[in-house]
Symmetry: C2
Subunit: 416 residues, 2 copies
């Protein structure tokens, strides 16, 4: 039995305990975690300090150092987020459907915990706590594998959570950290069939693709976002500019920001100069098709096929003029990662056509794609945004961390 | 672009067409398929004949030859099954949930087709049609990869379905057969990311494990069934014998038949001789624990650890006497494949304890495990029985072949 199998076995045993814990006990555990985080602020900051020293030694860039850093305010915010999860409604035990068969068998489909959830993530240590408490709230055990850049912080945070769990009588093994951060152990985790019910990677495209390619356990793919806004012929011009600008520039690094703007040829001459002006505030680099350059001039770089596939994730965008809505939809079907797309239009038929034709997890009419987010959808918290179709699609809240079980009651029925 | 990628691309394009087809058109397609199957009976039988000749040459065993065989009656049954699927209610377009956010955004979670579904299966050619029409009914394109033993039959059946599809104006590429039956092509299919939204293996444990290990596309694991019946202290004796006998002997080759019988020590002396007598009709081979042998004698083979893990899938069973219900549940948690388990009891607390503690897709009180089946659950038809927790669990009907999409309507909302 290798290191990961040992963690897996402990997690599985612990998962059977929490699966039967009621909402009261689970919430007590979360409240104890929040309290223990606050009480351990000094200890956490000093562990984090070791990671930060290592980061400086390794010349980690300043933005990443900032993401790695924990201070009193951030720890307070993490603790508050835990209390918020505690206050959410419990989803376990819900009777999803129920019916009686002609032979008298009563079948109930009941919501139950997933079991053991694996999370592989990169350096931000707040994810360690966020992800763990969502898994616990949904009645699961969790195995966390963070980056080695945050190993001191993560080890400390997991110890704080484990102490809180045992203080309310739950097993410490409900939250375990993979302390070996080598690649081989990560590979073992991805092949932990029989112990891991699902593995969720959270991080950049490289991490996610590595997990998709190597894992033999079920995976939920998250995050990749080549999103589009299409400005229809009939769009309200002011609304179109506001939505396109917001979708691109409000926070360009996130997955629900757009990368390509599609513009109907009949509105292009009015719309393009206005969006160009709006984009200038953020010095957005524009890659445009030939026709876009005819309108906006040579400051626009000629867009290549590659541009349409690209996630810029910064102040950079591709713009393409299309002949009609069909061309816009076909462009999206070809280049999109099927995350979020929006149409700006005053034409009801076109809105319906777009909703029915675009095969993405979230499709918008007259709103910014930036709303694809668990909080914005009203889910209270989010474990990630699924870009696959299996199990969960779009922002994933607590329900994505559960499964169902059929419970069948009879009085001696046998099959003939 | 390799052979599988070509099939994938064609399937994806076709999937966009059927995704927008209404229930009427989809049902016309299914009715045309049923009609064309009947009209092509001679052609199908003659193609099947070639497979059968090959089977004889290769010394295929007689049971498998029988499963491979198509005759007039079997083709009629397949056509009738297609019509039954056509008569089922359409599941696409259902608004699963809908709500309005404080900012006025209206969010609807709508049921949509999965997209492109891959099925890898073994020799039975009726699966070719059954699986294809379920995928079509749920608005999907399907890529079928059957065994090479049935290649002539499958090629003919797929051609018959394709002709029916084009006769109602739908693309032939909605149903495609992988005509290259080599291992390399199967591997390409398992790694067809970007084209296949899900891959469902149907067949023996070897096939399923190969797919789980090699696939990089999302997979639904099906079929493995190490199922249990637990006879509680308070069980009605007659009911216990009837259920245990039915669960073992009514059709021992299928996945919802039981492999191990757990018996409370206080009822063992009364129950075991009776079930032994019932089992004698089918000459069931019994592997028992030490205590079972004390009661039933030396004709019972001593059960090993390995026996408790085994799927006999024939007239063979393991029997273990347990001290209490906790021991029974722990045995199930350890050895079960989490398919179907049943308790026979007159004690309400024990029934509840069993339902809440056993982590399997279907858990029964006082009924045979043999009911874990799409038809028996009332789903009309079944694409398989999922033994994983992601996406679908237990018998999978049409809903398992769909996903959802968020459709969000606003009037200019942007994120601040």
């Amino acid at each position: 039995m290798n290191y990961m199998e040992e963690l897996g076995q402990k997690a599985k045993q612990a998962s059977h305990v929490i699966a039967k814990a009621g909402a009261v006990l689970k919430n007590q555990a979360l409240e104890a975690i929040a309290k223990n985080l606050l009480n351990s602020t000094e200890e956490i900051i000093s562990a984090n300090q070791k990671d930060l020293e290592q980061a400086v030694k390794n010349n980690m860039n300043l933005a990443m150092q900032d993401r790695l850093k924990l201070d009193e305010t951030r720890i307070k915010n993490i603790a508050n987020a835990v209390l918020k999860v505690a206050s959410m409604e419990d989803v376990i035990g819900e009777e999803v459907r129920g019916w009686i068969r002609p032979n008298g068998l009563r079948i109930r489909q009941v919501r139950v915990p997933m079991g053991v959830i694996g999370i592989i993530f990169e350096s931000r240590p707040n994810v360690t706590v966020d992800a763990a408490v969502l898994c616990l709230k949904a009645g699961n055990a969790v195995i966390l594998r963070g980056g080695k850049e945050a190993i001191f912080s993560n080890t400390c945070l997991v110890k704080v959570m484990q102490n809180a769990l045992t203080s309310v009588g739950l097993p410490a093994e409900l939250v375990q950290l993979v302390e070996k951060t080598d690649r081989e152990t990560a590979g073992d985790m991805m092949r932990l069939n029989g112990y891991l019910d699902v593995l969720i990677p959270r991080g950049g495209a490289g991490l996610i693709q590595a997990v998709v390619k190597q894992a033999t356990v079920p995976v939920i793919e998250t995050g990749a976002g080549n999103c589009h806004v299409y400005i229809d012929e009939s769009a309200d011009l002011e609304m179109a500019v506001a939505i396109a600008d917001n979708a691109k520039t409000q926070r360009p690094s996130v997955c629900n920001a757009i990368e390509t703007l599609l513009v109907h040829e009949n509105i292009a001459e009015k719309f393009l100069p206005e969006i160009q002006q709006a984009f200038e505030k953020h010095k957005v680099i524009i890659h445009g098709c030939e026709n876009t350059r005819k309108i906006l001039g040579d400051s626009v770089i000629l867009a290549t096929e590659e541009d349409y596939f690209k996630e810029y994730s910064n102040y950079e965008i591709a713009i393409k003029i299309v002949k009609n809505i069909e061309n816009a939809v076909n462009h999206i079907l070809k280049y999109s990662t099927h995350h979020s797309e929006s149409i700006v239009t005053q034409n009801m038929q076109n809105a319906e056509y777009f909703l029915n034709s675009v095969d993405s997890s979230a499709v918008y009419v007259n709103a910014s794609t930036r709303f694809t987010d668990g909080e914005e959808f009203g889910f209270g918290a989010e474990i990630g945004i699924s870009t696959q179709k299996l199990h969960a699609r779009g922002p994933m809240g607590l329900l994505a961390l559960t499964t169902t079980q059929y419970r069948i009651t009879g009085n001696g029925q046998i099959r003939s």
